[in-house]
């Protein structure tokens, strides 16, 4: 059984124009002890899903349906105090820009101790020792615990955020674009730190990104999100090398691959549909080069460890061949 099983999760934002279905029927399984990448274009609902899992949605947002089974309990149905009791101890979070995610007027030590003492129940002396140890683990000099966040570089702040997230040894860490704001070299360093610690501590991680290269470099599994849904998921090697869903085929062409080959980049033409009034049937239909009349109806989801939601899964091999030709993705 998976550590985390999300079933038919719906998250809506109340807006003046009506409810925006930012997460609209997501199914996702995260096995213990592995890194699952969550990729998709901007606005497809990745952060919303991450925050829903953390139980902290913006005021306008609410879980409108579905289940979040985590360690055998539906945490979406828990009362606020019960949900707070597992927060950070069992699942924690690494934010994108640690600049604002750390309290600007408090030293890192105070922010580490707060978590270790208030949430971890440690005594002051133990907490101090643990804070130094955690800084050491993420490659920061424990002396820097006396610094304020603004005295850190972007990469160091991200390391500090990792130290905070790992402080109570949670079972699952959700990292929302943890390296997006960093330059490529620092990206690698931070990803290495995360991967090493994840393997060492045996925890599970959801790594949200819009960068396929990051997925290929750091993840064991990947889930591809499009317009509020997961359209394809499975082991990284399978999904990236033999994508089943045309959107994933397009995505892998729209990004430079990880070995830096000079592959022609072909962005997918068009924009995702409105989440205010999502279209019936396949949500990718308006942009899919392989669209057929039956795509106006809800596509079936295949079974298995590597699965996708598309009417033309059986023809995936031929479609991949077509998708490799740039002309396929040119606007008509």
């Amino acid at each position: 059984m998976s550590l985390l099983s999300v079933r038919d999760l719906v998250v809506t934002y109340a807006t003046r124009a009506g409810p925006v279905r930012a997460v609209d029927g997501v199914n996702l399984d995260v096995p213990a002890g592995s890194i699952t990448g969550l990729v998709g274009e901007s606005g497809c609902g990745k952060s919303t899903l991450g925050r829903a899992l953390m139980g902290v949605l913006p005021d306008a947002g609410r879980i409108a349906g579905g289940q979040i089974m985590f360690e055998g309990t539906d945490i979406a149905a828990l009362s606020a105090p019960a949900r707070r009791a597992i927060a950070w101890r069992r699942l924690s979070f690494i934010p994108q820009t640690a600049m604002n995610a750390l309290d600007p007027v408090q030293r890192l030590r105070a922010q580490m101790l707060e978590v270790l003492i208030e949430r971890g129940g440690l005594g002051k002396a133990d907490a101090l020792a643990r804070a130094s140890e955690l800084f050491h683990l993420v490659g920061l000099d424990p002396i820097r615990l006396s610094d304020y966040p603004h005295q850190f570089s972007g990469g160091m702040r991200q390391r500090a955020s990792i130290a905070l997230a790992l402080a109570l040894e949670p079972a699952l860490v959700i990292a929302d674009e943890p390296v997006t704001a960093l330059d490529v070299i620092v990206q690698r360093q931070v990803l290495d730190v995360m991967r090493n610690l994840q393997a060492r501590l045996g925890l599970a991680m959801i790594l949200v990104t819009h960068d396929i290269a990051v997925v290929a470099y750091a993840c064991d599994r990947v889930a591809v999100m499009y317009a509020g849904r997961i359209v394809e998921s499975g082991p990284v090697a399978d999904v990236l090398e033999n994508p089943l869903h045309p959107y994933t085929m397009g995505l892998t062409h729209a990004f430079p691959d990880l070995y830096g080959d000079d592959m022609t980049l072909v962005p997918i033409d068009g924009t995702p549909p409105s989440l205010l009034h999502p279209p019936a049937g396949c949500r990718f239909a308006a942009r899919c080069p392989f669209v057929q009349p039956r795509c106006a109806e809800e596509p079936p989801v295949t079974d298995g460890d590597h699965h996708a939601a598309c009417w033309r899964i059986d023809e995936a091999a031929e479609l991949r061949a077509l998708a490799a030709i740039p002309a396929t993705w040119m606007p008509k």
């Binding site: 953390m54 600007p104 007027v105």
Partner: protein, 308 residues
């Protein structure tokens, strides 16, 4: 600044000797008096004498009361400082708590009632507020004195003795309340606005994700960050109030710097008025500097000397 006050007061109409001398004095005594105050000299000479004295820390003699200006100001200053400190502290304590509370109960009935109320007390003229309180709590009921800093007939020699006396505090209550009501709007609205801003910050979302108690989220993270601009406003308000209490001090006949200034101007007592002005300007500058230092001390992102 001191040059400006010098020129301003000399340009003002009025002859200091008119208040000072009885009409029965003859030309000769008048001239002798003018000479003793140096008023017979040409204006430019008066200016240089004044600036010279000022540089030596000498503010001159009051025309009207015949005492050194420094002594008169030193008598009035503690009254003003105390009135300011008490009312400003009360106003900020109230404003901060109420502002933070309102930030949390956004869009409710409480907000619909209290924001206009806070705005109204802030917009109402001070003298009108003061007179309402005087009419209600002093004249009608007799609970509080109608003016002054001490009951008639009471003499206190040392400051310590005065400030320890209940009589002084009893006299302070109404002017301080008036000033507090007048001042409370700024910290309240400022605290509410910065609090609302801070509550949307990423580190507040993170604090909630950590499962920290509401108290930790609000006090340790939100309030501490939201307080920064409010503390600065407090220091600025302290500086501004030293000279800005004129209206309240006049309504309640409170013997502070503001009232010294008003009477000095009315009676064309140049040295005293100038001295009061310089003191007010100096406290403004001092408190502005203190505000910057306080901000730098509280916000680690600002180092002393660096521009915000």
């Amino acid at each position: 600044m001191s040059s400006l006050t010098f020129i301003l007061f000399r340009l003002a109409p009025g002859d200091p000797t008119i208040n000072f001398l009885s009409p029965s004095f003859n030309e000769e005594t008048r001239a002798a008096l003018m000479k003793s105050f140096g008023l017979d000299k040409p204006l430019w000479e008066q200016y240089f004498i004044y600036m010279g004295n000022l540089l030596q820390g000498n503010l001159g003699q009051s025309f009207l009361q015949g005492k050194p200006v420094a002594v008169l100001l030193a008598d009035a200053l503690p009254n003003t400082v105390l009135l300011t400190l008490v009312s400003l502290t009360a106003a900020y304590a109230f404003g901060i708590v109420a502002g933070a509370f309102l930030a949390f109960h956004r869009g409710g009935l409480v907000e619909a009632v209290s924001i206009p109320a806070a705005l109204a007390t802030r917009a109402a003229p001070e003298f009108w507020l003061g007179m309402l309180l005087l009419a209600g709590l002093a004249f009608q009921t007799g609970w509080f004195p109608t003016g002054g800093a001490l009951s008639p007939g009471r003499e206190m020699n040392s400051f310590a003795e005065r400030f320890m006396s209940g009589d002084f505090w009893w006299h302070l209550a109404l002017p301080a309340l008036t000033l507090m009501l007048y001042l409370q709007g700024l910290p309240l609205l400022l605290m509410r606005a910065t609090m609302l801003e801070v509550l949307n910050d990423e580190f507040i979302v993170m604090a909630k994700m950590k499962g920290l108690s509401r108290w930790s989220v609000v006090m340790r993270h939100a309030a501490r960050n939201a307080l920064l601009p409010v503390v600065t406003a407090f220091a600025l308000g302290l500086g501004a109030s030293i000279g800005g209490n004129v209206v309240v001090e006049t309504v309640f006949a409170w013997p502070g710097i503001g009232r010294v200034l008003v009477t000095a101007v009315q009676s064309a007592d140049y040295p005293l008025a100038q001295g009061a002005f310089i003191l007010i300007a100096a406290s403004l500058v001092t408190m502005n500097t203190l505000a910057d230092l306080a901000y730098a001390a509280l916000d680690p992102r600002v180092s002393v000397g660096a521009k915000r």
